[in-house]
């Protein structure tokens, strides 16, 4: 069984990353919707921008994964 502190650490790493992404994506998403309403041809670019903050949650996930899978093996 995992150490509880490891699990919590992983949870925090992932959770905060996701939270950050959520906040950023909400704003960018709203702006993206605005852009698309005016210039539908920019749909693709808007999509890229909406996806940019995903980095955060991914990094969070990786850190969580490292904490969960890599740290215990060290």
């Amino acid at each position: 069984m995992l150490d509880w502190s490891i699990a919590i650490g992983a949870g925090i790493a992932f959770g905060l990353g996701a939270l950050g992404t959520g906040i950023a994506q909400a704003r960018i998403g709203a702006a993206g919707a605005g852009v698309i309403a005016e210039k539908p041809e920019l749909f693709g670019l808007a999509l890229v921008f909406v996806a940019l903050p995903e980095t955060l949650v991914i990094l969070g996930f990786v850190v969580a994964a490292i904490i969960l899978f890599v740290l215990p093996t060290m």
Binding site: A31, V35, E38
Partner: protein, 352 residues
């Protein structure tokens, strides 16, 4: 109060802004030979749809005018469709209410001289918060009092200043009384609405107060040009300006020369007036001064584009930019009908 979705609004306004005609496009319009080639050229701009709609009823200059009207009111409606939230709407309404005031004045004036209702209806601006049905019902009224009563009956706030000053009007039969009452009511309402200390209120307060200053300076110049003595300066000037209070204004109006006014304004934000060529001062021509003042105000409003992107700054800036663009196109169309030389047309346009 609902949360205002500034990200969405900002993005849309930026998108809309990018569709405003650039200076080059306007210059191309100005270089056209006559009104029909101006219309042809406008067909390649976002005004195309409005031109098509307007062309069902009008041709030539009237068609352009109608298209511009339609475009303006369409733009306002569009902005209202996505600017949601009570506070935001109140603030944007400050901009729109100017047209309400003008329309009410037009109707009062028209009814007062028993003008034909079609004629009055045609003289109404196509914007503002009052809807067309209300305006149509107002035009149907037999006299000034009836209009005020109708406004009161429908719970429209402009009935308040009008009712308060109606007695005075019925004694003098001078509509100016009611007009000043309306104007002052508008500005005091506007200032009340932005009395708070939020960013949005702050920027709009800045604009409104600058506008008050600009209007007051214009009026000082007009008074001086016509060499009239003011018995009651309080009555003619709007209080609440940013840099000039009523005392300062009445002092200005006592200088009796335009030169004197511009000199006294040195050190304020309006010292650019002193830099205008002397020939305007000696010719007592007021429109160049007005143009500069309007430009100043417009510049101030357009600077909002670089304000906080998550605020109403963009919307207000856009509204100003849009109305300026429409004015510019109207100037071009008008001048092309009168065959004004291209150079003079360009001089009349306001670019910022």
């Amino acid at each position: 109060m609902t949360k205002v979705d500034y990200e969405y609004i900002g993005a849309r306004i930026r998108g809309m802004k990018s569709r405003l005609l650039e200076r080059k496009a306007l210059e191309a319009l100005g270089a056209k030979m006559d009104i029909s080639s101006v219309i042809d050229e406008l067909e390649n701009t976002p005004y195309r749809q409005d031109l098509e709609d307007a062309s069902v009823q009008y041709t030539g200059l009237a068609c352009v005018e109608e298209a511009l009207r339609r475009n303006l009111s369409k733009t306002f409606r569009l902005i209202f469709s996505f600017v949601k939230g009570e506070d935001a709407e109140t603030l944007i309404n400050i901009f729109l209410n100017k047209w309400d005031i003008q329309n009410i004045k037009t109707i009062l004036r028209g009814i007062n001289i028993q003008e034909m209702s079609e004629e009055i209806a045609e003289s109404l601006a196509p914007a503002g918060a009052l809807n067309d049905a209300t305006l149509a019902e107002m035009i149907k009224q037999p006299d000034v009092k009836a209009i005020i009563d109708l406004l009161a009956t429908w719970g429209i706030e402009y009935s308040r200043p009008l009712t308060r000053h109606f007695k005075e009007f019925s004694e003098t039969r001078d509509l100016v009384v009611l007009e000043y009452a309306l104007d002052k009511f508008y500005y005091s309402q506007a200032l009340d609405a932005v009395a708070g200390d939020s960013y949005d209120e702050g920027i709009i307060r800045g604009i409104v107060r600058t506008e008050i200053d600009v209007t007051n300076i214009k009026n000082v110049l007009r008074i001086i040009r016509d060499k009239v003595e003011l018995e009651d300066p309080q009555y003619y000037f709007i209080s609440g300006g940013k840099e000039l209070d009523v005392d300062k204004l009445s002092a200005l109006s006592k200088t009796r020369t335009m030169d004197g006014v511009t000199k006294q304004l040195a050190g304020s934000s309006y010292d650019f007036l002193a830099r205008l060529p002397d020939e305007y001062v000696t010719a007592e021509k007021i429109s160049p001064f007005e143009k500069e003042l309007d430009k100043f105000l417009l510049q101030k409003a357009l600077r909002l584009f670089s304000g906080d992107p998550l605020s109403l700054a963009l919307v207000i800036g856009y509204l100003w930019a849009k109305s300026n663009e429409i004015t510019n196109i109207r100037i071009i169309a008008m001048c092309k009908t009168e065959y004004v030389p291209e150079k003079e047309v360009m001089e009349e346009l306001v670019f910022v």
